[in-house]
Every structure is written in structure tokens, then in C-alpha cells.
């Protein structure tokens, strides 16, 4: 199945001359926290060969590859790659254009919303290729991989096999001398897998100098490699050609050879899986029945008229290429998805998503590991046991039993993330089994699990089926597993091609193996619908090594690479129109809401009078207040008790008490006291009320003085002319709208920028930054630019709204305002980038950004209280926060008619903020994983 490599050319371990080695490792060690991933590895990888790393999951294969690729920081030891120390940043910068690294996981380093062409194009740009060169190379690669019919399909919609081919295209775009592939075919169906290796073979024939290092869990693939490194527990067990390994262990195949190489305690207990035949009792009870199941998503029919019946206790295998509808069928059986047409029955009862009882009889294990990584093994088991309503007293016993049965006893208090995939899959199965279900539905349970663990897993399935009469419905890509099933169904493009026992299927096609039979069926089905995407021989021949672009990897700052990131970010933004719309439309709505809502001109205050005098004069006094536009009079107060009660209820904000004999005392010139009680619960309001009352009192006094004393009172008469400048109408809108623009242009761009980076961290595509020649500054600036552009557009919209909708006149220089806005959004996005260097999870990033933008802009930036009046830490923040200065400039240009000259002093901090924040981000950003 794999391209036959040149026979016997493997260099003996350690014996190869130095120049022949593409990488040399000396005493390399690596730890994740307390877990030791690699320990004292000394190894030479021969150049120009196809080198395979084999071994179970979690033995350090991926860690080793990421170290060699320079994606991870070297902790211990020395690694020389392509003739230099990979720990040396300069060497990394110079050699990374010669290395290509394809990380583990289907399309983990691809961008799902970008098309096939755009994905490759992005990588080509990162390596500084010109337009013509890019188009030529992409064309050739697409043709060679058979992806040429769908250059415009989004990567997220590709099947697993196609994703891997696309990943290969991206890796090969710059003619690497060293190609590193981490489990490239895990989770890929046999046909695609075969095509993938044929493709690698083609490419190697054309570029014989290229070294390829592959990690794989498929021993039959490793069989065809030139040179193998068998690893276990962070150590190298053995190295050599496949033939040498077989010879030294005396095993018939690599699977057996590997098991023989394992230390004694790991080998113990392993034996080949034998599943006894099912007892043929007469009465057949059907556990699962599907009749004409059909599932449509819009126009797309994912599952088309699928029918089968599975008797109780049978192991039923489900095979098919990626994306053929297996998972969808399983979801319909579990009730996760309601079928568009047809019926599914479990134990004769129709599947009903609301039927809780049926769910208790089913155990489901989904394709991806979907247990809670934040809970320990025991906590996961316990949670599921309780959710399945097991009797609480039975739970500890059952958990112990499961732990023993699935070999989890020693890791009960470990977090799943710290466990190798194989053990995690066992945990998943234990969880699915905890409530002793009658049916197990398993979606690719052994994808990415090594042979030893897989055998153990199937032994368990066998026991469950034969001893406990559990019906097992399982999907798989492994042919040796399919052979273990009682019956299998082959599925393609939503339809079942054939359903029978494995032997009968092989017989029907007159094929030698099940794999051949399977591929035969698939090719027949594909041939009926479309031309097979088989690589055209010779197509790869055009991939002649082009002269290496001189610029790539050399320049410290390359505009083209930066723009590659900008372009990609812009494309992603364009593919997610909701995000851009939210950013643009949302700010306008917010401006509207906040502009109208914040009204500092306090009005409609409630007050009531406790008038113990009740004369014309006392009425005159209260009328002064009641008549103003600020106050609304409420029914009079009866006594102090009433005053207290109504103020406590918040019914009145002000109470006036006029003493008995008020009028008489005033006329006799005796000093009287008018009492005013103000509700101080909300200080700003209390403050305003106090100001109003004092003012009105003074006014009343002057008025009365004139009436009483006539001209004598005019001596010393003077007026204070109040001029409200910049906002003569004292309208809140004029004061607030210019201040809301800085607020919005801080929050939204910072949030977008921080998530653009943290998202890459969480979803894995950050790896492209680690292993391509992009520098930190190029990466940061490239990410920033589209958001600066979006925010600038946003700024223009907000200003237009302010002027034309809110009618807030722009009296000063528009140029000054725009220049300040540009500097400001640059600083705001840089602040987001700085935050992103600290955050790993998107939740923390969202929370952190909300904290660091919302409070300082609303409270410390002079939007309501001027910065000069703040105190303590808030004053400090106000002085260094860029929003403070943009508020000054926005108000200056909008209301005060100012321009560059007058506002110069506010520009300086804005000019500094962006570069300082960006430089800090660059300093804190890591170019390698820790």
C-alpha cells in the first residue's frame, strides 16, 4: 500500500557521517509540569530519508517533532537541525524557510473559513513568494494532490483526507529540505491514506534530497519507511531499517516487533484479540433498527435512505470515508439529531429525543474526546454515574469495578489532559459503560490509539458483547478492527454500499483483503459520481526546485509577510460578517443609547414641603422651587415621620421644612431657619440638588431684599455673568457624544484584537507563527492592521452620526480629530494585543478586556469627572490611559473649535501609546511554545 522505498539504504544508528544527518539530538529532555515527556534522548536522524517515529500515544513523538521543527523551546540537551543549533534564534530564522512542519490533528494549522487556495496562498506569502511564483506553485500542488477541482471550497468543509492533503500543500509550498509530518494519516480513511502516501512518494522521487520525518501509529505504514525510531515512555527503544528491526526481534511484522521491543512489564498481558463466535440462539431480538433514515442539512443530504437491523449482542462495524455520514447516522440513533425522514428504533421503541428512559440504556462515545478535561478521571466517572441516576451507594463500587476493568486504577486522580490518547479513549469507554447500558454506540473510538492499546480495547468490546450481551455499534478506519466485527456496513456519501460479514464482503469482491475490497467499493462509488482525485503521474514532476527566494528568512522585517497576516485576518473578518457588522452597527447603537442616556443636566427631581407656617410668604418660598424646571412637587409632608418614610422609600429627593411663624419672624427681622433635607444616597444627584436649592434660596433672598428695603439693597449689588462656554445650551449631548467616541473606539477594537490572537492560541493555528519566518513584529502588526482599518471606518461612521444625526457640530479641525483617532485606535488594538500575550483561554481574554477597557474609559478618562479631579490609583490610570487624551482632543475639535496647534500637548501621549504597547507585546510574545 505504501510506496516502496529504496531497499536497505538505512544508515546504521549513530554510524552515519555528520553531513548525512538532518538532525542530531543530544541528551534531549522535556517536561510538562511534573510529566516527563522526553528523557535523555540522543539520536541522529539521517538526511534524505523517510524516517518514521513509531510508538504508542503519549510516548513523546509529537514533542520530539515539535522540538526539531523549532516550534517548542528546547529545555534540556542540544538539538542540531540542518547544521545549526535550533535553540539559537538566528539559526531558526535562517533555517525555518527550509523546514516544513505539519502538526498533529486534522487541519489544525489550517484556517477553516479560508478557501483551499487562500490557505496555500497565505503560506506562500509568508515565505515571501511573488504573485507569479505563488500562482504557479499553488496550481502545481493542487494538481498533484487532486485538490484542483475545488480551490474555492472553505477548508472547514473538506473531508479529513482532503484536509491532510491541503496541509501537505501548505507545507510543501516553499520546497523544504526537511518535511516533518506528525501523524498525518490519523483519522483518515484507507483510500485517502493510500493516496496521501502515493503523493509523498511522488514528491520524494522528484526531490530526492528532501528529508521526511513522520510520526505514525500505523505500523503497516511504517513498514514502508527507510528508517525507524521506536519510542516508548520518552525513550528511544531501537532504531534501524524496518528489516533490521524485524530481524533483531525475530518478529513477523512490525506490530509484533514493536511489542517485542517494549519493556517486560508493558508487554505482559498482551495477546492477540480473539473474539469467540456469537452463540447462535434461535430468537433474534433487535436492539437497533433503522428504516429509511435520511438527514438533510439544507440542500445537502448527509444521510440518504439508510436501513439496517442489529440484533442484540452483535458487534456491528460502520466503515466509510471521512464525512460520509457515519457520525450523522449515529447521532440520529442516539436522538441527538432528529431524522428528516425514516425512523430509528432502539429495543423496538422509536427514538425520541425527549425519552429519558431510552437514553439510560445507551452509552455513547463521540469521535472527539468529549469528557471534561477540567475534571479528574474519578470525577468524570462519578459525574456520569450520578447523571445516569445510579443509586448513590452503588456508585463507588461501580467506579472501582470500571477502573479495574479498564485499567484506570492508578490514574484515578489525574486530569485527562495529562493522559495519552489511548488511555483517554479507555476512560471514554469506561464513562460510556458506567451505567451498564445495553447498547454502546462508539464513533471512531480507536482513532489515534496505538496497536497495543487498540488490542486491549477490542478485547474489552469482545467481552462486553459476548459475556454481557451488549450490542455494540462501532465506526472505524482500521481494517483489522473491521475484521473483528460480526457484520459491517460500508458507507459512502450518505449511502450504505454494502452490509454483510467481513468474510462475505471480501468474497463478493474476490479481493485478497478487506482493505482492497473496501477500496474497490469506494472507487466504484466515486467513479459513478465523479472522476477519482488520483494524482496524475508526472504532475509532481513540475515541482522542480525553484531558486530559493532571496528575501525569505533574511530580512528582519518584511512587509510582504506582515501583509500576508493582514490579508488573512481581513479575509477571516470578511467571512464572518456578523463580527464586522456587530462591531460597526453595535457602536452606532451604543452611541445612540449612551449619548441620549447620560444626561448630567439633572431634572425632574421630586420634592415635598413640610409647611408649618402656611402663609403667603411661605407659599411664595416654596413656589420658587416648585416653579423651577428642575423640581416636581409631591403632596405636602404631614410630619417628620412622613418625611422620614417618604425619603426612605425614595419618593422624594428633597424635603423643605418651613418653621412656624416664618412670615411673622421674617417681617420682624428675626433670624429664621428654613430646613432642607437632601437624599444623599446618590451623591451626584444630592450634590446637584444642593446646588439648585442654594441658588434658589439666594435668588429669593435678593428678590425679597429688594421688596423690603428698596434701593438700600442695591448698594453692593453685582451680578455674576455665567458663560457656559463651548456648549452654551448646556446640552448633555454636546458634552457626551464626543466623549462616547473614545469609549467605543477603545472597547470594540481591543476586544477584536485580543480575541484574534487568543483564538489562534486556543484553536492551534498559532503554530504557523512558530514555524514560519514571520517575526513577532510582523505577526502583531499584521494582525493589527485590519482591525485598525475596521476601527477607522467605525470612527468615520461615528463622526458622521454625531454630526448628522445628533446634530453635534464639529467646530474644529477634522484633520486633527482623524489623526488623533488613527493614533488612538492603533493604541487600542495594541492594548488588545498586549493583553493577548497573557491570556490562554478566550473566556479569560473576554473578561480581562472588559475589565481593562470598560472601567478606565468610563470612570478614569474624563468622560464624566475630569481627570484632574480624580485621586489615588484612578488618577494615575487616568493620566496614562490613552482614552483621556483622545477625550480631550475629541471635545476640543468638536466643541471648542480647536486644531493641531492648540491640542499638540494631547497628541504626544497618543503618539507614544501605540508604539510602547506594541513594543511591550512584541517583547512578551513567545515565538515558540514553552
Amino acid at each position: 500500500m505504501t510506496e516502496a522505498p529504496g531497499e536497505g539504504g538505512g544508515a546504521p544508528p549513530g554510524g552515519a557521517p555528520r553531513a548525512e544527518n538532518v538532525a542530531r539530538l543530544e541528551g534531549v529532555g522535556l517536561s510538562y509540569g511534573k510529566t516527563r515527556a522526553l528523557d535523555a534522548i540522543t539520536l541522529d536522524l539521517p538526511a534524505g530519508r523517510m524516517v518514521g517515529l513509531i510508538g504508542p500515544d503519549g510516548v513523546g513523538k509529537s514533542s520530539l517533532l515539535s522540538l526539531v521543527a523549532g516550534a517548542r523551546k528546547v529545555q534540556q540537551g542540544r538539538i542540531e537541525v540542518l547544521g545549526g543549533d535550533i535553540a539559537d534564534a538566528t539559526h531558526r530564522r535562517l533555517t525555518c524557510p527550509r523546514i516544513a512542519y505539519m502538526p498533529q490533528g486534522l487541519g489544525r494549522n489550517l484556517y477553516p473559513t479560508l478557501s483551499v487556495f487562500e490557505n496555500i496562498d497565505f503560506f506562500a506569502r509568508l515565505f515571501g513568494q511573488g504573485r507569479e511564483e505563488r500562482e504557479r506553485r499553488i496550481g502545481e500542488l493542487l494538481k498533484a494532490t487532486g485538490l484542483d477541482p475545488f480551490p474555492d471550497r472553505p477548508a472547514g468543509n473538506l473531508s479529513g483526507g482532503m484536509k491532510q492533503k491541503l496541509g501537505l500543500c501548505c507545507a510543501l509550498i516553499h520546497d523544504p529540505d526537511l518535511l516533518i509530518l506528525d501523524e498525518p494519516t490519523t483519522g483518515v480513511d484507507p483510500l485517502s491514506r493510500r493516496q496521501f502516501w502515493e503523493l509523498i512518494g511522488e514528491i520524494r522521487r522528484e526531490r530526492p534530497g528532501m528529508s521526511v520525518v513522520v510520526a505514525t501509529a500505523y505500523m503497516e505504514e511504517a513498514q514502508g519507511f527507510d528508517w525507524l525510531v521506536a519510542m516508548d515512555g520518552g525513550h528511544v527503544l531501537a532504531t534501524g531499517t524496518p528489516a533490521q528491526l524485524l530481524e533483531s526481534t525475530g518478529a513477523a511484522n512490525l506490530d509484533a516487533a514493536f511489542i517485542a521491543l517494549l519493556p517486560e512489564e508493558k508487554r505482559r498481558g498482551h495477546k492477540a484479540v480473539v473474539i469467540p463466535p456469537r452463540p447462535a440462539d434461535g430468537k433474534e431480538e433487535f436492539a437497533i433498527e433503522a428504516e429509511h433514515l435520511t438527514m438533510r442539512f439544507g440542500d445537502f443530504t448527509a444521510v440518504d435512505d439508510v436501513s439496517f437491523r442489529i440484533p442484540r449482542g452483535e458487534i456491528f462495524g460502520f466503515l466509510g470515508s471521512n464525512g460520509c455520514g457515519k457520525t450523522t447516522t449515529m447521532k440520529m440513533l442516539t436522538g441527538l439529531l432528529p431524522a428528516s425522514e425514516g425512523t430509528a428504533r432502539l429495543f423496538g421503541r422509536e427514538v425520541d429525543p425527549n425519552d429519558i428512559e431510552v437514553r439510560r440504556r445507551v452509552g455513547y462515545m463521540s469521535q472527539a474526546f468529549s469528557l471534561y478535561t477540567e475534571l479528574t478521571v474519578r470525577q468524570n466517572l462519578d459525574l456520569h454515574a450520578r447523571l445516569f441516576r445510579m443509586a448513590p451507594e452503588a456508585i463507588p463500587g461501580r467506579i472501582e469495578e470500571m477502573a479495574r476493568r479498564f485499567g484506570l486504577t492508578h490514574i484515578m486522580d489525574t486530569l485527562p489532559d495529562a493522559l495519552p490518547l489511548g488511555i483517554r479513549q479507555r476512560l471514554s469507554l469506561a464513562v460510556a459503560m458506567i451505567h451498564a447500558p445495553d447498547i454502546l454506540i462508539l464513533d471512531e473510538p480507536t482513532s489515534g490509539v496505538d496497536p497495543v492499546a487498540r488490542d486491549g480495547f477490542w478485547q474489552m468490546l469482545s467481552d462486553l458483547s459476548r459475556k454481557d450481551n451488549v450490542t455494540i455499534f462501532v465506526s472505524t478506519h482500521f481494517m483489522n478492527e473491521a475484521e473483528l466485527c460480526d457484520r459491517i456496513s460500508l458507507m459512502h456519501a450518505g449511502r450504505v454500499l454494502v452490509s454483510d460479514t467481513p468474510k462475505a464482503i471480501v468474497g463478493k469482491r474476490a479481493a485478497a483483503t478487506l482493505e482492497e475490497a473496501f477500496i474497490g467499493y469506494l472507487q466504484e462509488a466515486i467513479g459513478a459520481s465523479a472522476a477519482p482525485p488520483s494524482p496524475t503521474p508526472g504532475a509532481a514532476g513540475e515541482l522542480a526546485p525553484a531558486p530559493a527566494p532571496a528575501a525569505a528568512g533574511r530580512a528582519r522585517f518584511d512587509l510582504r509577510r506582515m501583509l500576508a497576516y493582514s490579508r488573512r485576518e481581513a479575509l477571516e473578518l470578511q467571512r464572518d460578517p456578523i463580527r464586522a457588522t456587530l462591531a460597526l452597527l453595535g457602536t452606532v447603537i451604543l452611541m445612540f443609547v449612551v449619548g441620549y442616556g447620560i444626561n448630567l443636566d439633572v431634572e425632574n427631581l421630586t420634592f415635598a414641603v413640610l409647611d408649618r407656617d402656611d402663609t403667603t410668604l411661605s407659599h411664595d418660598y416654596t413656589q420658587q422651587i416648585a416653579g423651577s424646571r428642575y423640581f416636581i412637587e409631591k403632596p405636602p409632608l404631614r410630619d417628620y415621620g412622613d418625611l422620614d418614610k417618604r425619603m426612605r422609600e425614595g419618593d422624594i429627593s428633597l424635603a423643605i421644612e418651613i418653621p412656624p411663624n416664618f412670615a411673622r419672624d421674617v417681617s420682624r427681622g428675626r433670624t429664621v431657619e428654613v430646613g432642607a433635607w437632601i437624599d444623599g444616597a446618590m451623591p451626584t444627584r444630592g450634590e446637584t440638588v444642593r446646588g439648585y436649592v442654594e441658588g434658589m434660596h439666594a435668588q429669593w433672598l435678593t428678590q425679597k431684599a429688594r421688596e423690603l428695603y428698596g434701593d438700600a439693597a442695591t448698594i453692593g449689588d453685582f451680578t455674576i455673568a455665567l458663560r457656559y462656554r463651548y456648549n452654551p445650551g448646556i446640552e448633555s449631548l454636546i458634552a457626551m457624544v464626543p466623549a462616547v467616541i473614545p469609549l467605543l473606539l477603545m472597547m470594540i477594537p481591543a476586544m477584536l484584537a485580543v480575541l484574534s490572537v487568543v483564538r489562534e492560541k486556543e484553536l492551534g493555528s498559532i503554530i504557523n507563527f512558530y514555524v514560519t519566518p514571520v517575526t513577532r513584529m510582523e505577526f502583531l502588526l499584521g494582525k493589527q492592521l485590519p482591525y485598525v482599518a475596521l476601527a477607522s471606518l467605525n470612527f468615520l461612521m461615528l463622526v458622521a452620526f454625531a454630526i448628522y444625526v445628533f446634530k453635534v457640530p464639529l467646530t474644529g479641525s477634522f484633520a486633527a480629530l482623524s489623526a488623533a483617532a488613527l493614533l488612538y485606535v492603533f493604541a487600542a488594538t495594541a492594548l488588545g494585543l498586549l493583553l493577548s500575550t497573557f491570556m490562554r483561554s478566550q473566556i479569560a481574554a473576554i473578561f480581562g478586556t472588559a475589565l481593562i477597557t470598560l472601567i478606565p474609559t468610563v470612570q478614569f478618562s474624563g468622560m464624566i469627572d475630569p481627570v484632574s479631579s480624580l485621586q489615588g490609583a484612578g488618577a494615575f490610570i487616568g493620566h496614562i490611559y490613552p482614552a483621556s487624551y483622545f477625550v480631550t482632543i475629541a471635545r476640543g475639535t468638536f466643541s471648542k473649535g480647536l486644531g493641531f496647534e492648540e491640542l499638540g500637548s494631547a497628541f504626544i501621549p497618543l503618539l507614544l501609546a501605540g508604539p510602547i504597547l506594541l513594543a511591550l507585546s512584541a517583547a512578551l510574545l513567545r515565538k515558540q511554545a514553552d
Binding site: G669, T684, A705, A721, I734, M751
Partner: protein, 370 residues
């Protein structure tokens, strides 16, 4: 619905939270340092209002006026010339500029009613309003005292005795502290529930839950009680240690009653978090939506500026926001010492809003799971 499932699902959420140290740090920060900083930064009444004076008279009465302005209400006034005044105000250096005209004292005594000009930067509205009144009364007071030596009794003998209740010194940090607690409560409860739900979907664990005998109501309630509890505990600790302890804010009313109100508010905001998560397709969209919701909640709930001064339409819309009622409730209970007999309408409103949000998000949540 089974209580045991709800309990188990909630415990799972709590365990998950414990594994995210960065998030825990942020929670602690937002309920301690952030509240303390924001509250102490708030100017008490009128604080350090910047003023400069153009003294073109240089008479005794003018110097009386100049010396009447001093910290903490005002900055020490800068004596400037008329030509400097515009420039200083333009660049935002001064909020107030007082211009005492030439021959002010002479004209005053001659009964010619001279005019002092007070320029106010009206773009700084909070200071412009309260400060303007202060400046006027200070100037009047000084002039009057000066005049008392020159003229007979012409005063009307009415004195105004102002008493401020519940917060005698109108200390803004008291109210500010509570406001900041409220913002933190709202922000955190929405983020914790909403983002946790999106994360479950992005990591595929939600699907796993759905094949088990648990219902959407149970999943939702599990998130609501657990995340609500975290915020509830943080609130209680923050009120006792930071608000009452470090900031020394006297609490007049019953803390227990307020915490009961907090629980109701949390019911509403956690439901809102789930609702937003079902609307947002991805984390970035959720982040943006969050900003769009949080800002109006904070600014228009009546915590920043008095609610009664807002346009009627905004008041009406904000009546549907839980924060509005929670802010009223907080003011009433914590400062005015009101009891349940006073705040029951707010309790009822919170319950109604919470209930409506819960059922709305439950409906969306069911569809979201499809």
C-alpha cells in the same frame, strides 16, 4: 427535572472554574482591587476643580475672592491674564475662569452693579453644574462680607440649613463602591455562564451531555446556580471586606435583604448570559455582544447618572433591564435602610425579568442544541 442532576452539573462547573487560575485571579481582582481603585478615585463632591482668575481690579475685594478658593474643592487658583484665559480653557486646563473687571470695587460701592464673568467649560458637565453653583455662592459670600462693613442691615434674615441624609458628606465613594460592586456582579455573571456554554460547545462536551438522561433545563439550572453562587460569594466577601472594611462605607440597611436581592439579580443576569451565548455563534461574537450589552447596563441603569433625568424612552426601555431595579434596590436598602415593605416592587421586577429571561433563553437553548 431532577434536583440531583442540577446539583451534579453545577458541581462540575465549579470544579472546572477551579482549574482556570487566570479566571480566578480576574474574579478576585474585579471584586477587590478594581472596586477599591475605582471607588477611591472618585472625586468627593466637588474635588480639585481647576480654576483660574483674571484679576483686573487688584482691589481688596478682588483679593478676598482670590483667596476664597482653595483645595480640596478647588485647585489653588492660577492668576492669569485675559489673553491667557481662552487658551487655557481651550486646552482643558481650567474648568472655571473668573474674570474680575477693572474698577470692580469702586463700581460695587457706587451701586453701579458691576459684573463678574464666570466662564465654565460646559463640556465637563459634572463639574460645570455643581461647581458653577459653588463658585457663585463663594463669590457672593465674600462680596457680601466685604460689604457688611459698608452698609446697614439689608439682609433678609432667612438662613437655609441644609442637611443631607444617608450620606452626610455626599461622599461619592460610598455610592461608587456599591455601583462598582453591581457592575462586577453583572459583568462576571454574564461572562461566566455565557462563555462557559460556548466553550462546552466548542469542545464538544455539550453533545455528550445530551445523550445522557439530562434535560436542557437541568443543564441550564446547573450553570445558573453554580456560577451564581460564585458571584454571590464574591459579592458577600467584597461587601464585607472591601466596601465595609477597606472603604469604610457605613451600611444602613440589612445586608441580608440586599443579598437576597443580589440572588434575584444573579438569576436574571446568568440567564441573560446563556441567552447571549445562544445568540452568538463564536467567542469573538460573544465578546462583542457582551460589550454591547454591558455598556448600556452600566451607564443607563441609574448608577452613573440619575435615572429620572434620562429621556422617558430610555427610562422605559431600561425598565426591562435587571440592573435598573437592582441599582434602586441597592440604594434603598444599603443607604436609606429601607426594608422589604419598600423594595418589594424591585424584588418583584427582578423576579419577573429573571423569569422571562430564563424562559426565553431556555427556548433558545433548546434550539441552540439542535
Amino acid at each position: 427535572m431532577r434536583a440531583a442532576n442540577v446539583l451534579q452539573l453545577g458541581i462540575k462547573e465549579l470544579r472546572g472554574l477551579l482549574r482556570d487560575p487566570m479566571l480566578l485571579i480576574l474574579i478576585v481582582y474585579s471584586f477587590t482591587v478594581s472596586i477599591y481603585t475605582a471607588s477611591t478615585a472618585m472625586p468627593e463632591t466637588l474635588n480639585r476643580a481647576s480654576i483660574s482668575i483674571v484679576d483686573e481690579d487688584r482691589s481688596p475685594v478682588a483679593s478676598r475672592i482670590v483667596t476664597a478658593f482653595y483645595p480640596p474643592y478647588f485647585t489653588v487658583p492660577k492668576l492669569i491674564t485675559a489673553s491667557q484665559m481662552d487658551r487655557r480653557m481651550d486646552s482643558g486646563l481650567d474648568t472655571f475662569a473668573l474674570d474680575i473687571p477693572p474698577n470692580f470695587q469702586r463700581d460695587l460701592l457706587a451701586g453701579r452693579a458691576p459684573t463678574i464673568q464666570l466662564n465654565v467649560d460646559a463640556t465637563r458637565m459634572s463639574q460645570a453644574f455643581s461647581g458653577g453653583g459653588y463658585v457663585q455662592s463663594i463669590v457672593s459670600g465674600e462680596v457680601n462680607e466685604f460689604l457688611n462693613r459698608y452698609r446697614g442691615e439689608t439682609e433678609v434674615p432667612v438662613e437655609l440649613t441644609l442637611r443631607t441624609r444617608f450620606n452626610q458628606e455626599l461622599n461619592k465613594s460610598w455610592f461608587g463602591a456599591v455601583t462598582n460592586v453591581i457592575s462586577s456582579i453583572t459583568m462576571l455573571s454574564i461572562i461566566l455562564t455565557g462563555a462557559a456554554l460556548i466553550r462546552e460547545r466548542e469542545h464538544g462536551t455539550i453533545e455528550h451531555l445530551l445523550v445522557m438522561p439530562v434535560t436542557p433545563v437541568e443543564i441550564m439550572l446547573g450553570k445558573i446556580w453554580s456560577m451564581g453562587l460564585v458571584v454571590f460569594i464574591a459579592t458577600t466577601v467584597s461587601l464585607i471586606l472591601i466596601v465595609q472594611g477597606a472603604l469604610k462605607v457605613p451600611i444602613n440597611g440589612s445586608l441580608t435583604l440586599f443579598l437576597m436581592g443580589t440572588a434575584l439579580h444573579l438569576f436574571a443576569t446568568t440567564s441573560m448570559g446563556i441567552f447571549l451565548a445562544t445568540v452568538a455563534g463564536s467567542m469573538p461574537q460573544f465578546g462583542l455582544l457582551l460589550m454591547l450589552v454591558l455598556l448600556p447596563l452600566q451607564v443607563l441603569s441609574g448608577a452613573t447618572t440619575p435615572r429620572e433625568s434620562m429621556p422617558q424612552i430610555i427610562q422605559d426601555i431600561m425598565a426591562f433591564a435587571p440592573n435598573t431595579h437592582f441599582v434602586i434596590l441597592a440604594q434603598s436598602i444599603l443607604f436609606r435602610g429601607a426594608g422589604l415593605t419598600v423594595v418589594w416592587p424591585q424584588f418583584l421586577a427582578l423576579l419577573a425579568i429573571g423569569g422571562a429571561l430564563f424562559f426565553l433563553s431556555l427556548r433558545r437553548f433548546r434550539r441552540f442544541l439542535r
